[in-house]
């Protein structure tokens, strides 16, 4: 048996499973999005692009798109800044590194649902520890302005470890000689960071940005469990809206159209980032 022939047998099971459980549903969801399908009434008829046309006039959809974009932009930048600070800190020499890293990883390991419940309790307007510590009386999750920011703060807390760990790996790849050389040339800590550290971890920052942006844009659990999309849909993201249309009002056709839009957006973000990375590599 030739090498490539044997390879087929090793690779085929994984590819078949991926095709059946990911590719087929994507094709099916596009098909569903072209239909008016109401499960309870047994209605299923082809309507062409009507769902998508309706979507353009759906204020709730635009609201959800705005919330999702805002959530993604703010939480990813927050995670990046905090994560970078944490990575720089953990890259210093100190004893008990393993212990600190394990502690830092804890928010990453906690199920999102559990962390949403934890934060919901901390955000509680009457008995929450956050108001107590800050000396405020904010109704964090009931206030249209604060609710989305509360969700963002929770997401930043939950995913900063991931960012920090990846950036730390990037920092550790920088040869120490570079720093000593720059120091001999008279560079201070700020210029070291600006001209040595930052350029060298830029590729890692881009990788982290891709992973986190795609993840943040599809956010579901964090928002669904923390606020359910409320108050008055001010925290509703695209995935949450699509879920509600699919499984609460059971409009499979329209919900699928929303899901297709999420898919397209995520695809565009991915293509955008790959374009940026490609150009950078070509530039080198």
């Amino acid at each position: 048996m030739k090498r490539s022939e044997a390879a087929t047998w090793f690779i085929a099971p994984a590819l078949l499973l991926l095709a059946a459980v990911t590719i087929y549903p994507i094709i099916h969801v596009i098909y569903l999005s072209l239909h008016r399908k109401l499960l309870i009434f047994g209605i299923s008829e082809f309507v062409g692009l009507q769902n998508f046309l309706f979507l353009l006039k759906d204020g709730r959809f635009w609201g959800a798109l705005g919330n999702t974009a805002y959530f993604t932009a703010l939480s990813v930048s927050g995670e990046l800044i905090l994560g970078l600070a944490l990575a720089l800190l953990m890259n210093k020499a100190f004893s008990g590194k393993g212990f600190v890293r394990a502690m830092v990883l804890i928010p990453w390991a906690i199920p999102t649902v559990v962390s949403a419940k934890m934060w919901e309790w901390m955000y509680n307007g009457d008995f929450g520890i956050l108001n107590y510590l800050l000396g405020t009386k904010v109704n964090w999750l009931g206030d249209p302005f604060w609710a989305l920011h509360a969700a963002i703060m929770m997401d930043v807390w939950k995913t900063t470890p991931f960012v920090a760990i990846l950036l730390l790996a990037g920092l550790q790849l920088i040869p120490p000689d570079l720093y000593s050389a720059a120091r001999i040339d008279g560079a201070g800590p700020f210029r070291l960071f600006r001209h040595v550290t930052l350029p060298l971890i830029k590729p890692m920052i881009l990788i982290v940005l891709i992973f986190r942006s795609l993840d943040a844009f599809r956010v579901f659990d964090a928002v669904y469990v923390l606020t359910g999309g409320g108050p008055a849909n001010t925290t509703e993201t695209l995935s949450v809206y699509a879920y509600k249309v699919l499984f609460q009002t059971l409009q499979i056709g329209y919900g699928s159209a929303l899901a297709v839009v999420v898919f397209i957006c995520v695809g565009l973000i991915a293509i955008g980032f790959i374009g940026i990375m490609g150009r950078r590599v070509a530039y080198r």
């Binding site: 087929t8 059946a20 099916h28 390991a109 107590y132 879920y243 899901a259």
Partner: protein, 270 residues
């Protein structure tokens, strides 16, 4: 002086990271009447009443068992199928390798919401709704991209000579995979296993749609839908949260290095 500043910052970081969980632990030990007043911060008479409450009625035990079975079997299947594929990609296939890896990577970017409605319809029509298998099949597939990426990079690091030597000695490709490559990559396989297990233990969207009763309901769904008679039972939610997070904390402390290896290996080499 500078060392002092460093340690103070590290303490702040640790406090920020574990503070919310610590507060949940404190909450879980308070009696109900203590939950609705702050201060004091600490419970006057720490009590296990909420822990006793969640384990009464056996519903919660069943949910933990569901999660344990689903996460363990998913880990087993994802690693078996994924490592076969990675072996094929790293040691056998000559053509299409980049294409297949690119395909696998792009699948990992699919938003779960886009695939959930067709999967729900299919799983319902073949009668697998509300069973362990609905979740195991789904999770195994969605864990494959990560598994394949990490393991392919691990297998590539093994010198090809080892593989050829095994072949010359009369091993079939499968034997050389099973007897030589797998044992030599144990650390990478272990790192991947932890990540897949944590993913399956924590997943919410598919668990919410594909399960409907305690026959297959997993921990995240049970906690999200925690039943309250009059008001939200914060004490019991806190006790449940602490209980299901404990195994993850143990995993993190025991295998922190492996987890970091897996996370960075999956991202960097990818």
């Amino acid at each position: 002086m500078r060392k002092g500043l460093l340690y103070i910052s590290l303490m702040l970081v640790i406090f920020y990271s574990v503070g919310p969980l610590l507060w949940q632990l404190i909450t879980s030990l308070k009696m109900d009447y203590e939950l609705t007043r702050i201060p004091p911060l600490l419970p006057e008479n720490p009590s296990l009443v909420h822990y006793i409450a969640i384990f009464k009625g056996r519903m919660f035990l069943r949910v933990i068992a569901n999660s344990a079975v689903v996460a363990s079997l998913t880990t087993l299947f994802a690693l078996a199928i994924g490592s076969l594929c990675s072996f094929g990609l790293a040691k056998l296939a000559t053509r299409y390798k980049a294409l297949i890896l690119g395909f696998v990577l792009s699948i990992s970017m699919f938003p779960p919401i886009a695939t959930v409605s067709p999967l729900y319809l299919v799983i319902r029509s073949i009668g697998l709704r509300d069973t362990w298998w609905a979740l195991i099949i789904t999770y195994t597939t969605f864990s494959l991209p990560l598994t394949i990426w990490i393991l392919t990079s691990f297998f590539r690091e093994l010198p090809d000579e080892i593989y050829y030597a095994a072949r010359v000695d009369g091993c079939t490709p499968f034997q050389s995979y099973y007897r030589i490559v797998l044992p030599l990559s144990a650390p990478g396989i272990f790192a991947t296993a932890i990540l897949v297990f944590i993913f399956s233990w924590n997943e919410f969207l598919y668990a919410l749609t594909l399960t409907s009763t305690q026959a297959s309901r997993t921990i995240p769904v049970a906690i999200a839908l925690f039943p309250g008679i009059h008001e939200i039972p914060w004490g019991e939610i806190a006790a449940a949260s602490v209980t299901v997070t404990a195994p993850l904390i143990i995993l993190v402390f025991a295998f922190q290095r492996r987890i970091i290896e897996g996370l960075t290996g999956g991202a960097v080499k990818g």
